[in-house]
C-alpha cells in the first residue's frame, strides 16, 4: 500500500497516458467523424490532466476551455452541418496507407532514438519558479574589497501558476501576445469571408425578401466600391 501511495503520480501517468494513446488511435481508426471527434475530446482532456501533473495548471485550464470547449464544438458543428449519412461507404483509408504507416514508423523510431540518448540541458530543480512572478531590477552590490558592481538581479515572489503566466504574458511577451490577438482577428475575418455563401439562381426564387434586399444592397456597395 505504501509503495502504491509513493508511486501514485507514476500510476496516474501510466493510466492517463494509456487512455490518451488509445483514444488517439481510435480517432484515426473510427469511420464516423462524430465518433472521431468524441475520442478527440477524450484525448484533449487526458492531455490537460498531464499538463496539470507537470505543474502547468494555467495551460491545462486553457486546454480544457479552448480545445475541449471551443474547437470541439466547431468540429462537431461542421460534422453535423455536412450530412454524415451521405458519406461514402467506401474504404476510409487512402490507397497510400502502407506508405503512410511506414513514414509514421520511421518518424517514431527517429523520435524514440532522440529521447533515449539525447543529452538534454541540465535539469533545474526549482518548481517554485513555475509559480512565481519574476521582477527584474538593477542592483549595486559591494564586494568585500570595496569594489561596487551593478548588474541585473531577478527576484521571485511566490504567487500561483496562472498569475505567473499572466504576468509573463503581459510583460516579457507583450508583443507576441498582441500579434496573437491580431492573428485571431485575421483568422475570424478569413473564416467568415471563406465560409460566406453567394446566393445561386435556384435559391433566389425561394429566398425570403429580406435576404434578397441584403444581397441587392451588397451588390450596390460593391459597384460603388469598384467604380
Amino acid at each position: 500500500m505504501d509503495a502504491l501511495t509513493a508511486n501514485m503520480p507514476l500510476v496516474v501517468f501510466l493510466l492517463v497516458g494509456t487512455v490518451t494513446v488509445a483514444s488517439a488511435i481510435l480517432v484515426v481508426a473510427m469511420r464516423n467523424p462524430v465518433h472521431s471527434a468524441l475520442f478527440l475530446l477524450v484525448t484533449f482532456l487526458c492531455v490537460a490532466v498531464l499538463f496539470v501533473m507537470r505543474g502547468a495548471e494555467f495551460v491545462g485550464a486553457v486546454q480544457v476551455l479552448v480545445y475541449a470547449g471551443g474547437i470541439m464544438v466547431l468540429f462537431l458543428f461542421v460534422v453535423m452541418l455536412i450530412n454524415v449519412r451521405t458519406l461514402p461507404e467506401e474504404r476510409i483509408t487512402s490507397p497510400y496507407w502502407l506508405g503512410g504507416i511506414a513514414v509514421g514508423a520511421a518518424i517514431f523510431i527517429l523520435l524514440a532514438t532522440l529521447v533515449r540518448t539525447g543529452p538534454y540541458h541540465q535539469e533545474v530543480n526549482r518548481p517554485d519558479i513555475l509559480e512565481s512572478i519574476a521582477t527584474h531590477t538593477m542592483e549595486t552590490t559591494v564586494a568585500a574589497n570595496g569594489k561596487a558592481t551593478t548588474g541585473p538581479v531577478v527576484h521571485y515572489t511566490l504567487a500561483g501558476n496562472s498569475e505567473a503566466v499572466g504576468n509573463s504574458l503581459y510583460q516579457e511577451y507583450l508583443v507576441p501576445f498582441e500579434v496573437a490577438s491580431l492573428f485571431l482577428l485575421v483568422a475570424m475575418i478569413g473564416a467568415i469571408v471563406i465560409g460566406k455563401r453567394e446566393l445561386g439562381a435556384m435559391e433566389e426564387e425561394t429566398a425570403p425578401d429580406f435576404i434578397l434586399d441584403r444581397v441587392k444592397t451588397e451588390h450596390e456597395v460593391k459597384e460603388v466600391v469598384n467604380a
Binding site: 490518451t20 494513446v21 471551443g70 474547437i71 503512410g100 509514421g104 503566466v165 492573428f183 471563406i194
Partner: protein
Amino acid sequence: MPSTQAYLMLAATLFTVGLIGVVVRRNMITVLMCIELMLNAVNLNLVAFSSRLSSLEGQIFSVFIITIAAGEAAVGLAIIIQLYRIRATVNIDEVRELHG
C-alpha cells in the same frame, strides 16, 4: 513524478499517431482532427521541458500554440464547408486538382 523521458515518449507516440492519421485518412475533417493531435503532442513536449528546466517559457509558448490551433481549425473548417458546397464531397482524394 514521471520522468521527462516518459513524457517525451508519450508525446512522440501521439505525434506519430496524428501523422499517420493525416497521411492515411481520406475524410478531410478527420485529417484536421489529426493535425490538432500533432499540435497537442508538441504542447506536451513544451510543458514537460518547462518543468524540467523550471522556466515559464515553455508554458507560454504552448498558450500561443493553442491560439494558433484555434485559428487554424476555424479557417480549415470554413474551407471544408465551402469545398463541400462546391464539390459535395469531403473525400480528400477527390479534390486534388487545384483548378476550379
